[in-house]
């Protein structure tokens, strides 16, 4: 599974804001230059990003395997034609390039995920989004990161309990209802206890912001991002 891996690669040392910027810049460039030469350049950039984060192409793409059928579906369906000659390969070229650019974006976002701890991502959001929305997003993200494993356990427990009581014989929407109801009740019960704890710890609109500092390594990375944006616009 794709996730943060502690390390000391160049990508790990970059400020998360720089990495977010490069990602967005890459997407802009990829959508602006979905041509063979454009994608050739971007392939080099994407592989470079992944290498700097110490990630592997195979494992990154494997983590996106659920998305890959849709990447194939576009070119395949476009190539089909209603009537003779049934298949027109030329029609598949543009969708194929479009799918390939998404593949490259997967590699770049894989590099981000691998090299950025969630704490840094959260800090970046809280610094990038000003005021109250930034505060709500920052704390909200922190809570989502904290409670995902807890709620996953809750859901598995209620699914197992349902199975144990011969729930497999019920219709699917009934089973969905039972598992989702249990999950929802647990989640809301926890949320209500959590909100009391937040108040007890002076949950405030104007806290000390998380520490983030640009380093010298951010300058070249930021330049690459800037070049991508400029290229996307011309």
């Amino acid at each position: 599974m794709l996730s943060y891996v502690p390390g000391d690669s160049l990508a790990h040392r970059l400020d998360p804001r720089t990495k977010l910027f490069v990602q967005v810049a890459f997407v802009l460039a990829a959508f602006a230059h979905t041509t063979v030469p454009g994608l050739a350049v971007l392939t080099v950039v994407a592989l470079g990003c992944l290498a700097l984060a110490g990630g592997s192409v195979r494992r990154t793409l494997w983590s996106y395997r659920y998305f890959l059928p849709f990447l194939l579906a576009g070119p395949l369906l476009e190539a089909l034609t209603w009537g003779v000659p049934w298949v027109v390969l030329g029609d598949a070229v543009d969708p194929l390039l479009a799918s390939y650019r998404v593949l490259l974006v997967f590699l770049v976002s894989g590099a981000y995920v691998r090299s950025t701890p969630v704490r840094d991502s959260r800090a970046a959001i809280q610094r990038l989004v000003p005021g109250k929305p930034g505060r709500l997003l920052g704390v909200g993200l922190s809570l989502v990161f904290r409670f995902l494993p807890v709620l996953k356990r809750d859901l598995f427990a209620s699914r197992d309990a349902m199975r144990a009581r011969l729930g497999e014989e019920r219709p699917v929407h009934e089973r969905m209802r039972i598992v989702a109801t249990a999950g929802l009740n647990r989640a809301f019960g926890r949320a209500d206890r959590l909100s009391v704890a937040l108040r007890a710890r002076c949950f405030a609109w104007n806290p000390t912001l998380p520490d983030l500092r640009f380093s010298r390594a951010d300058a070249p990375a930021g330049t690459v991002g800037l070049l991508l944006v400029v290229w996307a616009l011309v």
């Binding site: 704890a197 710890r201 000390t208």
Partner: protein, 257 residues
């Protein structure tokens, strides 16, 4: 520095379902006191302590912390009175130990160096020093309880209120939490433990306050409170003297955490 309640009345529900949880509670807790708030389930213990830092507001009466009404300055009350909730797993706000403990001081807008110092001191105080980067999810129940205590201590409170801190903990974990409470008390922090089972904290307490039907039914040093407590369905140690010596010899050097 004290927590003072005068004529505290608190009702919940409305109309037919309305019930009185607190029915005229007058109480003063001195700085540095180790107080046990006891009582059967539903006697209003949790409701009472949640007035101390303004998590609940009384329908009648008033709470003052260091002479200042809680309703006027909830931030002061919440920094002076730290609170540890019954199920600490639902009270954590971050995935890792250090980030969670830092949450309170960050809200106070302290400088980053002050925050780091407080987080370090709070984790040291619960024997969790150097474990900032560990995931809360991976900790044992007793360790989670201690991190929850550290989260409250990072506010540098004068009083630490713990709601049923021993529920669900095994014996070694209870011992380690108890050892930490004893050390905190020794260093001058007021400790308030809410519980329906006095056996763990009995030897440490300066004073036992028991609630029944929303009123203070008992307010006495533990030795004098035993019989009255038993009548209120509160579990007390079978043999008081034995437990006292147990805990006295168990701390602080042989603190098992």
């Amino acid at each position: 520095m004290t927590i003072e309640t005068t004529g505290l009345v608190y009702r919940y529900g409305a109309g037919e379902a309305e019930a009185t949880a607190l029915d005229g509670v007058d109480l003063a807790l001195a700085d540095g006191e180790f107080v046990v708030v006891a009582g059967a389930n539903g006697s209003g213990k949790t409701t009472l302590v949640r007035q101390f830092n303004g998590l609940l507001s009384p329908d009648e009466g008033e709470v003052r912390v260091d002479g200042v009404p809680v309703s006027e300055d909830p931030v002061a009350a919440r920094t002076r009175v730290g609170m540890v909730f019954q199920d600490p797993r639902d009270a954590f706000v971050a995935a890792t130990v250090g980030a969670d403990v830092a949450f309170g001081p960050e809200n106070l807008g302290l400088s980053r160096s002050d925050i780091d110092r407080r987080v370090e001191a709070a984790l040291d105080a619960v024997n969790m020093g150097g474990r900032e980067d560990e995931r809360l999810d991976a900790l044992s129940g007793g360790e989670q309880e201690r991190v929850a205590i550290a989260g409250a201590l990072a506010m540098e409170p004068a009083h630490l209120v713990l709601d049923e801190p021993f529920t669900g903990l095994d014996e070694p974990a209870r011992r380690s939490v108890l050892g930490r409470l004893r050390a905190l008390h020794r260093d001058g922090t007021g400790v308030v433990v809410v519980t329906h089972d006095l056996r763990d904290v009995f030897p440490l307490a300066d004073r036992v306050v028991a609630l029944a039907d929303g009123r203070v039914a008992v307010d006495a040093p533990p030795g004098e409170a035993v019989e009255a407590l038993a009548a209120l369905d509160v579990r007390v140690p079978d043999r008081v003297e034995r437990d006292v010596t147990d805990v006295a010899t168990a701390t602080p050097d042989s603190d098992p955490c």
